[in-house]
């Protein structure tokens, strides 16, 4: 048989939390965030001014000197000093540069030259800024679907790379 519940217990009133100060703080927080909210996400792509140096590179280290020459019909990938043509990427059926193939090629190149992060862009034609940004994206970003690339940092720990060749220089700026 069940016992009849005590009346004394039932008489106890529930203690209610005073939410007023919390609500005040939340409201102030919301106003502050509304004032500083950025509804359009704006980012940046970094590029440096090319510096011409008369110094020869260190003999033990051969620089990759990755250069992309952009023409009307294709993008030519060159490496080394003096530059040697490695590969050329034409346009696809839509008339756009085959950036997917270029990206895969650059990922493979990065695997071999993991320490390199510079790329020289040389647009030889008067293409639009939008297309240049697309090419810069292809060259500098690593997608989630790409193979994971690791680099040993200064403290000797392997860290996963987030970017491909992110130091972009416009080679023909001064010409």
């Amino acid at each position: 048989m069940y016992r009849i519940p005590s009346r004394r217990r039932n008489k106890r009133e529930d203690t209610k939390l005073n939410l007023t100060p919390i609500l005040d703080a939340v409201f102030i927080f919301i106003f502050f965030l509304l004032m500083s909210a950025n509804f359009i996400k704006i980012f940046e792509i970094n590029s440096n001014v090319p510096i011409i140096s008369s110094k020869s590179p260190p003999p033990a280290k051969k620089p990759l000197a990755l250069t992309l020459q952009i023409s009307h019909t294709n993008i030519v990938v060159m490496t080394g000093i003096p530059s040697v043509v490695r590969r050329s990427f034409g346009k696809n059926q839509d008339g756009e540069y085959d950036l997917e193939s270029l990206h895969s090629y650059l990922v493979n190149l990065k695997k071999r030259y993991i320490q390199e992060d510079s790329v020289i862009l040389e647009p030889l034609v008067n293409i639009s800024y939008e297309k240049i940004v697309k090419i810069m994206d292809t060259v500098r970003t690593l997608k989630n679907t790409d193979d994971a690339l690791y680099k040993v940092n200064k403290s000797g720990i392997e860290e996963r790379l987030k970017l491909l060749f992110d130091k972009i220089i416009f080679g023909n700026l001064m010409s």
Partner: protein
């Protein structure tokens, strides 16, 4: 009898409990709003103004913006820190030099900004030194030849780091 009923009536009224507001749903809304605002919060603290006539290109970049001189370029106008310095409809007598590669009004304004930053640094140790950073807010339809002129002019004025301002891909 009548007096008594009034008295009892008063007593009944005073016993009425104060109605409590159920704020659960309001709190739900506030929490959702808070999460959304925290997600869209810009911690860089840089305010970039995109003037009318400029359509930014979309990019996969996730790099936050840096402080520096802001150069906004539309097909018709050039602004430096929101001030018009060149209107292609009202061209000054001399606009380009260095074989058409340098934009004179832009060069003059950028040099003035650089000198001002250096003067402020001289006057106060707490002031930030001249960074040489230039933020380009450029219309996506502009061509590379024009872009090259802008970059050349900035380099000539002593700005060594270009930051191309782009729109996040999901927006």
């Amino acid at each position: 009898m009548r007096h008594r009923s009034i008295r009892f009536g008063k007593m009944r009224r005073s016993r009425k409990a104060v109605p409590e507001l159920d704020i659960t749903s309001l709190l739900d809304i506030l929490v959702i709003m808070l999460v959304f605002l925290l997600h869209s919060y810009n911690s860089s603290g840089i305010i970039l103004n995109v003037p009318k006539g400029i359509q930014l290109p979309k990019s996969a970049s996730q790099a936050p913006n840096n402080a520096g001189v802001i150069v906004q370029v539309s097909p018709q106008k050039i602004w430096v820190d929101d001030q018009i310095i060149l209107d292609l409809n009202k061209l000054p007598s001399r606009t380009y030099d260095h074989g058409g590669r340098r934009i004179i009004p832009l060069f003059n304004e950028l040099t003035r900004k650089k000198e001002m930053a250096k003067r402020i640094k001289k006057g106060s140790d707490k002031a930030k030194p001249f960074s040489g950073v230039i933020n380009f807010v450029i219309d996506k339809t502009l061509k590379y030849n024009y872009l090259k002129r802008l970059m050349y002019t900035a380099a000539e004025a002593g700005y060594k780091q270009y930051k191309f301002v782009v729109l996040g891909e999901n927006f």
